[in-house]
């Protein structure tokens, strides 16, 4: 869609008119030719503007030739265009605006990213006085549905969001574990190969390196591409380069002092890299109580973007913020999981809008995803509602409260494909009083991942991820080792399990109720059973991603030292209220070590797991008289992670321990720091500067020595 050959000539003529005419006070449009790619353009009409009528006409573009402008072709039919004339001092401002919404362009096409222009028209604005033609303004309209100018609402202004986009995509890929890509440091690698690509997902006009521009689109502005680094020439031949052609104005001797360097070692590397984020200084008092919701979801979500509903509002789920308070209208960020618990008084409990009616933008233009909701009824109300007052009347109407809401988002690239919501409801009395504890979880899963168990690292374990374990004898779903999480009084019967997390030493316990006449054998069996319930697994995974189905894939058997003997010992157990050798303490020791690094990140693996019971003697604690009230026997379990160096260090000799002359960590005046300012220990200045200053100092000394007495005497002696 270039201008046809006569057009440049015509444009030139018009331009010439525009430049020359104001000299003798005629009426003229400035500028006289406009190429329009947005929804509105404006120009000024200067000269004698009294009694001038301005009219707009749509030119029929016959055979790609522009007709010579004349007032004869004026027609009143302006179609989609509106013309407004605003008087200014000594001039008129003429604004031509498209009446239709540009959204029409997008919705008109079946595929939303059309490559041919949405509107191609030629407009002629004429200024006439008493039906005599005085000035013309020619407007060439080419508006694209996916032109970046059309999406002026997108608000993408910061530098190169396409890079962020790349990063997000890479991160997404990294999460699925398919294709891990290292993003190079922008200071050393020209990661932004196309700095003029400012709008994500759309073609930027005049940016010829923009991958989003198709060839036909690029053809339009091929002759007006941005040049230089901004235009995508990120490794230009720089000054003083020997291979570069001599620039005009350089001195004759410049070939003698030129630089031999590969182009990759360009001074433009990191040209657009901003080292640290620095916010603007704000000194004025800005208090806004309302803020506009920014919607950038039309080009797909990036990690951390808020999820939007169709009504241009945030999709909200209660979340904990401030000092532990729950905020009910907190937006949800894309690819950010959370699991929060909120405690609310039933009196102030507010029913949330029904999730079924919410329509959420899926990230593609016009795409909507509706959550699929499954309701379940909570069985045990006491777990969720703590009543402070007893119910007075049962007659009033019941109401439903949501006690747990689990949101599962499926994502694909930067869109949301599916939302599954599981809501646990409880039916309570309308006048029920008390504190309701609610739980809200949000989880983002890849669209193609099943509900397999989450791995604890890839390949090594990550800190604070559960240990993977497996029971080969019983094919039940034992997947980790546990510790107790005691609740209430701390009795073993009420204690729940908590997984053992990699790298975190832990200690917990619970209390076992024992009567005065308790059989010691029974007590031992109870204790062993309770402690054994923590370590039901037989094997532990070496790595964080060992396969549960393949025992050969790095599974270690748990070493069980001292399996306790629960057999009766009649000679001792005959004594009431005293039992020796109760296996009351379980210690789990896990040996870990560094097993190399993947992409610079140290991977840790488990080398062995040992469980050991230690026994204590239990005695019934009596006061003055022994009552028939059960006593408490404490059981405890502990986990200890022991890091083993890959290579055992040699033990230090006594000489090495005492000799600290060269060990600057143990000796303030160690010899390596003798010339402290020129060593690496000195951090106050860059090393190069220190060396330079040091050399300067040395040169002063040498000069002093040369000029000093013994040297001059020696010179004399020689001569």
């Amino acid at each position: 869609m270039g201008l046809s050959p006569p057009a440049p000539l015509l444009l030139g003529l018009l331009l010439l008119q525009g430049v020359v005419r104001p000299l003798w006070g005629d009426l003229v449009f400035i500028p006289s030719v406009i190429r329009m790619s947005g929804p509105a353009v404006s120009a000024s009409l200067v000269g004698g503007t009294e009694d001038v009528t301005v009219s707009l006409a749509l030119l029929q573009d016959a055979e790609g030739l522009l007709p010579v402008p004349s007032c004869g072709v004026l027609s009143n039919e302006t179609g989609d265009w509106s013309l407004t004339v605003t008087p200014r001092v000594d001039s008129l401002e003429v604004t031509v605006r498209l009446k239709r919404d540009l959204q029409w362009c997008a919705s008109n096409e079946t595929d939303s990213f059309s490559e041919s222009p949405c509107i191609v028209q030629t407009l002629l604005v004429s200024a006439s006085h008493n039906s005599s033609c005085l000035a013309h303004l020619l407007i060439q309209v080419e508006i694209y549905a996916n032109s970046s100018l059309a999406h002026n609402a997108s608000g993408v202004k910061s530098f190169a969001p396409s890079q962020t986009e790349i990063r997000t995509r890479k991160r997404m890929e990294g999460q699925t574990g398919e294709n891990v890509t290292v993003i190079p440091n922008q200071v050393y690698q020209p990661l932004g190969p196309c700095p003029c690509n400012l709008t994500a997902g759309a073609c930027d006009v005049r940016c010829c390196c923009d991958q989003e521009c198709s060839s036909t689109l690029t053809e339009l502005f091929r002759e007006a591409c941005f040049t230089g680094v901004f235009g995508g020439d990120v490794n230009p031949a720089f000054d003083r380069l020997c291979s570069a052609p001599p620039a005009p104005g350089v001195p004759d001797w410049s070939p003698l002092l030129c630089v031999q360097s590969p182009l990759a070692n360009s001074p433009f590397l990191g040209y657009f890299h901003r080292g640290s984020a620095s916010s603007r200084q704000r000194t004025s008092v800005d208090v806004y109580l309302h803020t506009d919701v920014k919607d950038v979801s039309d080009f797909g979500y990036k990690q951390g973007d808020p999820i939007m509903t169709v009504d241009k509002a945030y999709f909200t789920i209660p979340q904990v913020s401030l000092a532990g308070q729950c905020l009910h209208s907190a937006p949800v960020a894309f690819l950010q999981n959370f699991d929060v618990r909120c405690a609310t008084h039933l009196e102030v409990y507010q029913e949330r809008d029904d999730i079924v009616n919410v329509k959420i933008k899926n990230g593609a233009i016009g795409g909507i995803v509706t959550p699929k909701v499954i309701y379940e009824e909570a069985t045990d109300l006491d777990k969720f509602i703590t009543s402070t007052e007893t119910l007075l009347s049962n007659g009033s109407a019941p109401r439903n409260v949501n006690v747990e809401e689990h949101y599962l988002f499926r994502w694909n690239n930067n869109t949301i494909t599916e939302i599954n919501v599981k809501i646990l409801r409880a039916e309570i009395n309308a006048h029920h009083k008390g504190i309701i504890s609610q739980r809200f979880t949000v989880k983002f899963l890849s669209y193609n991942s099943g509900n397999e168990k989450e791995s604890s690292g890839n390949p090594g374990y990550q800190l604070s991820k559960p240990i993977r374990a497996l029971n080969t004898n019983r094919m039940n779903n034992v997947t980790t080792l546990h510790l107790w999480q005691s609740a209430g009084r701390g009795l073993c019967t009420s204690a729940t399990f908590k997984p053992i997390l990699f790298g975190e030493n832990a200690l917990s316990g619970c209390l076992l109720e024992v009567g005065l006449h308790e059989n010691c054998t029974q007590l031992r069996e109870n204790a062993v059973e309770l402690l054994g319930s923590l370590i039901q697994a037989t094997h532990v995974a070496t790595r964080g991603n060992s396969d549960y189905r393949d025992l050969g894939d790095g599974w270690l058997e748990i070493i069980r030292a001292d399996t306790p003997d629960t057999g009766a010992d009649p000679s001792v157990s005959s004594m009431n209220g005293f039992c020796p050798d109760i296996p009351a303490q379980l210690s789990i020791r896990i040996l870990i070590s560094d097993a190399g690094a993947v992409e610079g990140i140290t991977q840790q693996e488990i080398l062995g797991v040992e469980t050991r019971f230690s026994s204590v003697s239990w005695q019934f604690q009596c006061g003055l008289t022994c009552e028939e009230k059960p006593d408490l026997a404490p059981l405890s379990a502990s986990v200890q992670f022991i890091k083993i160096p890959a290579q055992l260090p040699r033990p230090l000799t006594r000489f090495q321990i005492n000799f600290t002359e060269y060990d600057c960590n143990r000796n303030e005046v160690c010899w390596p720091q003798l010339l402290y300012p020129v060593t690496q220990y000195y951090q106050g200045e860059p090393c190069s500067q220190c060396v330079a200053k040091g050399l300067l100092l040395v040169s002063f000394f040498i000069l002093a020595v040369f000029l000093s007495d013994p040297w001059t005497r020696m010179c004399k002696a020689w001569s």
């Binding site: 640290s276 984020a277 620095s278 916010s279 200084q281 704000r282 000194t283 004025s284 008092v285 800005d286 208090v287 806004y288 109580l289 309302h290 803020t291 919701v293 920014k294 808020p306 945030y314 979340q319 904990v320 913020s321 401030l322 000092a323 308070q325 905020l327 009910h328 209208s329 907190a330 937006p331 960020a333 950010q336 959370f338 609310t344 008084h345 009196e347 102030v348 303030e668 005046v669 720091q673 003798l674 402290y676 300012p677 000195y682 951090q683 106050g684 200045e685 500067q689 220190c690 200053k693 040091g694 100092l697 013994p710 020696m714 004399k716 002696a717």
Partner: protein, 316 residues
């Protein structure tokens, strides 16, 4: 008439020997023993290199007019009121948003161009049934140091106070003190921490979680804290009266530690080195004189002569 020695001058005497003679070797050894041991003595007796130094400066502090307030209400269930100067934060609060009246005044008492004290007053309107029992307040400041390195950061003062009895007013009078975990540089521009304390543009709840804000802030190596061990709760609020936070925050002069520059270290090392070197020079001068006068090493003594005669002798 008794005669007094009114003036004296030493007569110079030369000792001649070959450049590869014992005498030359002795001189070289003496020179080495004169100049190197003072360095070792000065270094090994600690404190030779000035590794850290400090200076005093009153910082240029400005209140940035960013406030984040959370007030916990006593009687009402789940009650809290929140407000901040960040619109995204306020949008999250829903019913709990309450806009206070904030008046601030910074004062330069000694007319030196640097602010010395901030008077901050916040009046939170309350209904007659509401009672404030705890307050969390974040104020942000722009903090600048200029004398050595130009250090610019955005810092905060965090105030948390609670009382068992509902209060009518909270009075705080404290200093905004600098806390350094590492020394500053002796020169240059340092804008590492010129980033906002609170991400006020984020719409997400977790960015306004006080634990997150504090965690990110404490990860900095240079921070400011509000030191007031005992904020005063005043009780006895009238039914419709607002809850008032009255804060007087002073910006005191700080002693700032920094890493000295190269020349500063060399200067202090030189002072120590030369003072020890003088002793060694005197001692070895005596030793050398003794050795040459008594011909411990073989040399040809000559009396020092004017230059012309030296040449003549050489030519002959």
């Amino acid at each position: 008439m008794a005669l007094y020695e009114l003036y004296s001058h030493p007569a110079e005497r030369g000792y001649r020997a070959g450049l590869c003679s014992k005498a030359a070797l002795f001189l070289l050894l003496a020179a080495a023993l004169t100049y190197i041991p003072p360095l070792l003595v000065a270094f090994r007796s600690h404190g030779f290199w000035l590794k850290r130094s400090s200076y005093e400066e009153q910082p240029t502090v400005h209140f940035q007019h960013q406030v984040l307030l959370v007030a916990l209400l006593g009687s009402e269930r789940d009650g809290f009121l929140a407000w901040s100067t960040f619109p995204a934060f306020n949008r999250l609060q829903g019913d709990h948003l309450r806009v206070p009246l904030v008046s601030t005044r910074e004062e330069d008492r000694n007319q030196d161009g640097k602010m010395d004290v901030l008077h901050f007053k916040l009046e939170l309107p309350l209904q007659s049934t509401e009672h404030v029992v705890a307050v969390q307040l974040i104020l942000t400041f722009s903090y600048q140091l200029h004398r050595m390195s130009t250090f610019v950061m955005q810092s905060m003062a965090f105030l948390q106070s609670s009382f068992a009895v509902p209060g009518s007013q909270l009075y705080v009078n404290g200093d905004l003190r600098l806390q350094q975990k590492q020394p500053l540089h002796y020169g240059g521009l340092d804008v590492r921490y010129n980033v906002s304390v609170i991400n006020g543009t984020s719409p997400f709840a977790c960015d306004y979680d006080l634990t997150h804000i504090i965690a990110a802030y404490q990860a900095r190596n240079v921070t400011t804290i509000l030191t007031d061990a005992n904020p005063i709760w005043l009780v006895g609020r009238a039914a419709e009266a607002p809850f008032v936070i009255n804060a007087v925050i002073r910006y005191p002069a700080e002693v700032i530690s920094y890493l000295p520059g190269f020349w500063e270290m060399i200067k202090f090392a030189w002072i120590q080195y030369v003072s020890i070197l003088l002793i060694f020079l005197w001692v070895f001068e005596r030793i050398k004189r003794f050795v040459f006068q008594n011909q411990v090493v073989t040399t040809v003594p000559v009396t020092a002569m004017p230059q012309g005669e030296l040449y003549k002798e050489h030519l002959s």
